[in-house]
């Protein structure tokens, strides 16, 4: 689907902005909103690019830079932190050979941190795309990453 088709699905009003941004992000394998897209959205909605860019950069689930096919978001809030015996973040960084904020060389994963995702009872937890993974252990993380790699291959 073209960006213009996404835009046409929504009324040309400022209130559609967030939904449009989310849909474009979902649509693209590299999950980001480009400068050209910001201009197109601002023209369609009749708002300034500064407004679109402001909303786009406010939400951590959106990005202005290309990201991986799958976005791993590690919860950094207190219950996950307290229950995290082996350091989920560091484990992921090691397994993926990159740090938070980066994208793996094969373009498969981007590693990010997120605020509470509501899985405190099964902490530590993380999201991959919109799928929650809870009660994480080192082995579990390894299996999860492998499953994503398999599907892609």
């Amino acid at each position: 689907m073209q960006i213009i088709d996404v835009l046409k699905k929504y009324p040309a009003s400022q209130t559609s902005l967030l939904e449009i941004l989310l849909e474009i992000d979902r649509l693209k394998d590299n999950h980001y909103i480009s400068k050209e897209e910001v201009h197109m959205i601002s023209e369609y909605l009749g708002v300034r690019t500064s407004h679109v860019y402001s909303v786009l950069t406010f939400y951590t689930l959106l990005s202005t830079e290309p990201r991986g096919k799958h976005i791993i978001q590690v919860c950094k809030d207190i219950p996950c932190y307290v229950n995290d015996a082996f350091d989920v973040r560091k484990t992921l960084e090691k397994m993926l050979n990159m740090s938070v904020g980066q994208t793996s060389r094969d373009g498969l994963f981007t590693l990010e941190e997120t605020a509470c995702i509501g899985c405190c009872d099964e902490a530590p937890a993380m999201l991959i795309d919109l799928e929650p993974y809870t009660n994480l252990t080192r082995d579990k993380i390894e299996r999860i990453l492998a499953s994503y790699r398999e599907v892609t291959l």
Binding site: K35, V38, R48, T49, S50, Y53, S54, T57
Partner: protein, 571 residues
């Protein structure tokens, strides 16, 4: 009315006031930082925190309405500590090299730190330095000094409806700037400079050109002349510790002579000339079926706005150059011819209340010879004040002096150019008398004066009633422009000034321009007009002599060649 206690003093105030407003009525000063009269920022910085009996946490006085029976404490150790901590945190993320900042001793953050008694900052600096935006001729953005108060965003978005500046990112990462953090000249910024005028610190400033002016003043091969805009003389006194709106005509001339200027002229002279050209153009458009409504062209912020956002209405804009540029052209043609000086040796400095004028002077259309700008450099009111300080000019001691000739004899009408509605009023005085061939009974057009956003008047021209409108501030301008685009504009002549109040409220004027200050500057503007012997541009004898001697007649071929310009869609 309601009763409350502030610091154990009982206060009685009308309903609907905030705690801040109520306290001020009783001379209880609660410090603020992001708060600014006429803007809509509330509780961003939290400096105005106070304690309210029975309420959890501290509340911000600027946004909390005062209620009957409230017991408010503004000076408890808890409040003072909170204010100090907030200020220290701001300072930890601020380039606080105060002595190397244009706002030194004129900075709201610095004053706050002093008043709160901050003698040590408990927090180490977390400032991550970013490069400055130096790419346009008007404004410099230094985000290392930005304290994220939101004033520039509010004035850009809500007062000017330009919305170039916005807050980006969130939390600790939050910044203020244009989309994609691009430089201002990549944006549709009009360079109106209202952001610079309301900035409490030195994060947005005019591009400083004082050094090059000092150089030229001491270069014996250069013939330096200076012109001063009408709005500067009713504002510059404020920067020299005088009351708002002090009129400093004669002292200004004298102070400029102290700086070393030998040829001190008045932009009011070319304002009169503008009225002759623009008035004649209006009459011609009315009589000969030209494009109407005609819109004024003196304001470079407005011209930028039209060229960038509404190029389809360009034909409505008068082809007259602004008074600043008419002066520049005359200096390098007429003056050079008459004085037998090579125009390349003439250096024209202009002092303007405006940051967009700096950009205007660089436009390629305004180069009469050798690709050299007609106006070589533009200083804002604030920069001229800086030069006075550098030199140590004592405004109280110097004697008044008249402007030099030939560009020194002016009228009351020209002084009105500094006020919103002034160009309209000056034009109507002339156009009415030329068309109706009889003197105006009352030359004061009160209905186009004042700070109202859009003002209207009706004038009888040759038995026909025409409607005129005046707008100040770009948000109001948008309304009038959209009427024209829709073909529903009821007006024949429209004056547009990009800044609220007109040039007296320009982006290059002294800091702290609020509506009270604007009113004082306006009152002085109308006072000068009343006091002038001659109050109509077409009765300025020096202007009439200039036509006789050089320009032929208004809108003649020669006048068109020298005093008119064109506009084009940009970006």
């Amino acid at each position: 009315m309601m009763n409350a206690m502030i610091n154990n003093v009982s206060v009685e105030v009308e309903d609907g006031l905030t705690i801040l407003e109520a306290a001020r009525k009783y001379n209880i000063n609660i410090p603020t930082l992001c708060h600014y009269p006429e803007l809509h920022i509330n509780s961003d910085c939290r400096i105005c925190s106070v304690e309210i009996d029975g309420r959890k946490g501290l509340k911000t006085a600027c946004s909390t309405p005062i209620k009957d029976g409230m017991n408010i404490i503004t000076n408890s150790p808890r409040v003072l500590n909170a204010r100090k901590t907030i200020t220290e945190l701001i300072l930890a993320n601020h380039d606080a090299n105060c002595t190397a900042c244009t706002r030194n001793l004129n900075c709201e953050l610095q004053s706050l730190a002093k008043n709160l008694g901050i003698d040590i900052n408990r927090f180490p600096s977390v400032l991550e330095r970013k490069p400055l935006d130096l790419l346009n001729p008007s404004l410099v953005r230094n985000s290392n000094r930005c304290i994220k108060c939101g004033r520039c965003v509010d004035v850009c978005k809500n007062v000017q409806a330009m919305h170039v500046l916005e807050t980006m990112h969130r939390g600790h990462e939050m910044t203020v700037g244009p989309a994609f953090d691009e430089p201002l000249n990549d944006q549709t910024c009009t360079f109106c400079g209202q952001c610079a005028n309301v900035c409490p610190v030195g994060a947005i400033m005019e591009k400083d050109n004082t050094d090059v002016v000092w150089e030229k003043l001491h270069d014996p091969s250069v013939y330096v002349m200076v012109q001063i805009a009408p709005a500067v003389r009713v504002a510059i006194g404020e920067t020299l510790d005088h009351e708002n709106g002090l009129i400093s005509n004669g002292k200004l001339v004298s102070a400029l002579r102290h700086l070393g200027f030998d040829h001190i002229y008045d932009t009011n002279f070319t304002a009169d000339l503008t009225i002759m050209e623009e008035g004649t153009e209006l009459i011609d458009r009315i009589m000969n079926g030209g494009v109407l409504p005609m819109m004024t062209s003196c304001c470079p912020g407005w011209i930028n706005f039209a060229e960038q956002r509404h190029p389809n209405i360009i034909d409505h804009i008068s082809s007259c150059k602004s008074p600043q540029q008419m002066f520049g052209t005359l200096a390098k043609t007429y003056y050079a011819d008459k004085s037998n000086i090579d125009s390349r040796d003439i250096y024209v400095v202009s002092v303007m209340p405006c940051t967009a004028k700096k950009y205007e002077a660089t436009r390629k259309e305004f180069r009469s010879f050798y690709d050299i700008p007609d106006v070589d450099i533009v200083l804002t009111t604030r920069e001229l004040s800086k030069m006075f300080r550098q030199m140590g000019v004592d405004f109280d001691l110097i004697k008044e002096e008249p402007f030099d000739n030939p560009f020194g004899i002016t009228t009351g009408a020209a002084q009105l150019f500094g006020a919103s509605g002034g160009v309209m009023e000056a034009a109507l005085r002339t156009v009415y008398e030329i068309v109706n061939k009889k003197p105006l009974v009352d030359i004061n057009f009160e209905s186009v004066r004042g700070l109202q956003g859009i003002k209207e008047a009706t004038v009888d021209l040759g038995g026909k009633e025409i409607k005129v409108a005046v707008s100040n501030g770009l948000a109001n301008t948008k309304t009038l422009v959209e009427q024209i685009e829709a073909g529903t504009s009821p007006y024949t002549f429209i004056e547009i000034m990009a800044c609220p109040g007109g040039c007296i409220g320009g982006g290059g004027q002294p800091y702290g321009t609020t509506n009270d200050v604007r009113e004082a500057r306006l009152a002085s503007t109308y006072f000068i007009d009343e006091e002038m012997v001659c109050r109509k541009s077409h009765e300025n004898e020096m202007i009439l002599a200039l036509y006789e001697d050089y320009l032929d007649e208004p809108n003649s071929e020669q006048a068109h060649h020298l005093l008119h310009t064109y506009y084009e869609a940009r970006k």
